[in-house]
Amino acid sequence: MTSASETTPTTGTTRVKRGMAEMLKGGVIMDVVTADQAKIAEDAGAVAVMALERVPADIRAQGGVSRMSDPDMIDGIIAAVSIPVMAKARIGHFVEAQVLQSLGVDYIDESEVLTPADYANHIDKWLFNVPFVCGATNLGEALRRITEGAAMIRSKGEAGTGDVSNATMHMRQIRGEIRRLGSMSPDELYVAAKELQAPYDLVREVAETGKLPVVMFTAGGIATPADAAMMMQLGAEGVFVGSGIFKSGNPAQRAEAIVKATTFFDDPGVIAKVSRGLGEAMVGINVEELPQSHRLAQRGW
C-alpha cells in the first residue's frame, strides 16, 4: 500500500453532499404524503420525493403545530421508490434531523413550512452525514445557511398557495444580489459581507464565480408547467413542487407535465403541449391576501 493512496471510504464529505444535489439538477422534487403518491411521483419522472405528513396547503388550512413525519410513513415511502427520498425537519430541531438521518433519508429539508423549533438558531448541519437543503429569501440568508453546512439551497416561495409571485421575487432577489457582488471592486466586498451578514470568504467566492457554491432550486407556489419553466428561466437549477401536484385534479398527468416543462423550460412549444388538458390546478390563495403572521417564507433568518 502506498502512503499516497487513501482507500478508506470517507462518507459525509462536502463533495459527496453537494455532489448529490448536482445530480438532481434539471429535475423536479415532489411533496408526497403516502407511499402511493411517492410511486405516482416516481412514475411521472420525479428526480426525488419529499416525504411529509401534510402538504403545505393542508398545513395552512388546518393550522396547529406542524412537525417531522411519522417514521413509519417515511419507511413506507423509502420502501416504495428507488429514487432519493427527502424529509422535512423543523428549523433548529436537530433531534428530528438525527431521527431522519437514522431512518436513512437521502436529504433533510430544514423547512419553514413546519413550525420552527428554535427562533434563534438553525441546525448545525456540519454535524451530520446526511446533506441538508434550506430555504432562502435573499443572498445573505442563503450564505448563512451554507455557512451552517447546507449543501443545497432552495429559494423560498409562499408554500401551499399556488401563487408563484413570492418564488419569483426571491429568486430575482438572490440572483440580483449575486450580480451586484460581481460588479463590486474587491475592497467593497468587505462592506458587502457585513451588510449580507455572511462570511467574507464566501461572499468573495460568490463575487468571483457569479453563483452560489451549492445548487439552487426553487420552491413554493409552483402549480403549473409554465410556473416551473419560468423559475428555470429565472435561474433555478431545478424545482420543488409541494401542494401543486397532489392538490390538483389529475396528479399523475400534472406531475409528468411539470417534469417535461422543467427540462424544456426554454421551449414554449413543449410547455404549451404539456399544458393542454391538465384539468384543474390547485385552487390557490393570493399571497397578498394572507395576513403577515400566516406567511411561511418569513420564517428563518
Binding site: T10, T13, G19, E22, M23, G27, P84
Partner: protein, 201 residues
C-alpha cells in the same frame, strides 16, 4: 487542431460539470435534448443524475431510439453513475418499466453501495496507472458481472466492497460508477476524448 464535438445528454443531471471537464481537455461540448442535436457529434456523454428520469424523458421526447441507433453504429460514449446504468445491457434493482440504451455487456446494480448517508469518496487506481484517483461515489451503482468482451478499468481494492468493479470499457463505450466530473481529475474525460479521436481517424 480543433477538438472533437461531444454531446452531453442534457435532459437531467450534472450536465454543466461534464461540459466543463470536456472543454478542459480540448473538446467542444454541446448539450443534447433533441434528435436533431445528435447530428454532428462524434461522442456522447451521459451524465450523473437519475436513470429512471433520463429513461422516461428519452422516450417521451423520441430521443431514445435515435440515440440507441447511433450507439449501435459506433458512436463513442461515456456514462458516469446514472450514465453507466443507461449504457448497461442489464440492470439489477431497476424500476418495473425501466429501459436502458445498452451496449455494455454488464449487469449494473443501482444504489449498490446504499443510500446517500453511505455515499463516499476514496482513492482508486484507474486503468492501472498511478497516481491514485480520488473517486466520488454518490448513491452509486456497481458492476455486478461482466461479459467476455468487457475490459475492467477499475475495481475497489481494500477499504470495503473489495473487488467491486467500478469502471469498464467495451469497444466504443466507457462507464464509471463514480463522478470524475466533480473532482477536477480529468484523466477519465481525457481517456474518453482520446477514444473519440481514435475512432474519428
Amino acid at each position: 487542431m480543433t477538438g472533437p464535438t461531444i454531446g452531453v445528454l442534457a435532459l437531467q443531471g450534472d450536465v454543466r460539470e461534464h461540459v466543463r471537464a470536456l472543454e478542459s481537455v480540448g473538446a467542444h461540448a454541446v448539450p443534447v435534448r433533441r434528435e436533431r442535436e445528435l447530428h454532428g457529434i462524434q461522442g456522447m456523454v451521459i451524465p450523473g443524475g437519475e436513470s429512471t428520469v433520463m429513461d422516461k424523458l428519452l422516450r417521451a421526447f423520441e430521443l431514445f431510439d435515435p440515440l440507441q441507433e447511433r450507439l449501435r453504429e459506433g458512436l463513442v460514449a461515456y456514462g458516469s453513475c446514472a450514465g453507466m446504468i443507461m449504457l448497461a445491457d442489464r440492470v439489477a434493482d431497476a424500476t418495473a418499466d425501466q429501459r436502458t440504451l445498452g451496449g455494455l455487456d454488464v449487469t449494473v446494480r443501482r444504489n449498490a453501495f446504499g443510500r446517500q448517508v453511505d455515499s463516499f469518496e476514496r482513492d482508486i487506481t484507474y486503468a492501472g496507472s498511478p497516481p491514485p484517483m480520488r473517486a466520488v461515489f454518490i448513491r452509486a451503482p456497481w458492476v455486478e458481472d461482466v461479459g467476455p468482451q468487457v475490459e475492467v478499468l477499475a475495481r475497489l481494492e481494500g477499504g470495503g466492497f473489495d473487488g467491486r468493479v467500478v469502471a469498464v470499457r467495451q469497444g466504443t463505450l466507457l462507464a464509471t460508477s463514480f463522478h470524475p466530473e466533480v473532482t477536477g481529475d480529468l484523466r477519465v474525460h481525457s481517456h474518453f476524448v482520446d477514444l473519440v479521436r481514435q475512432r474519428a481517424q
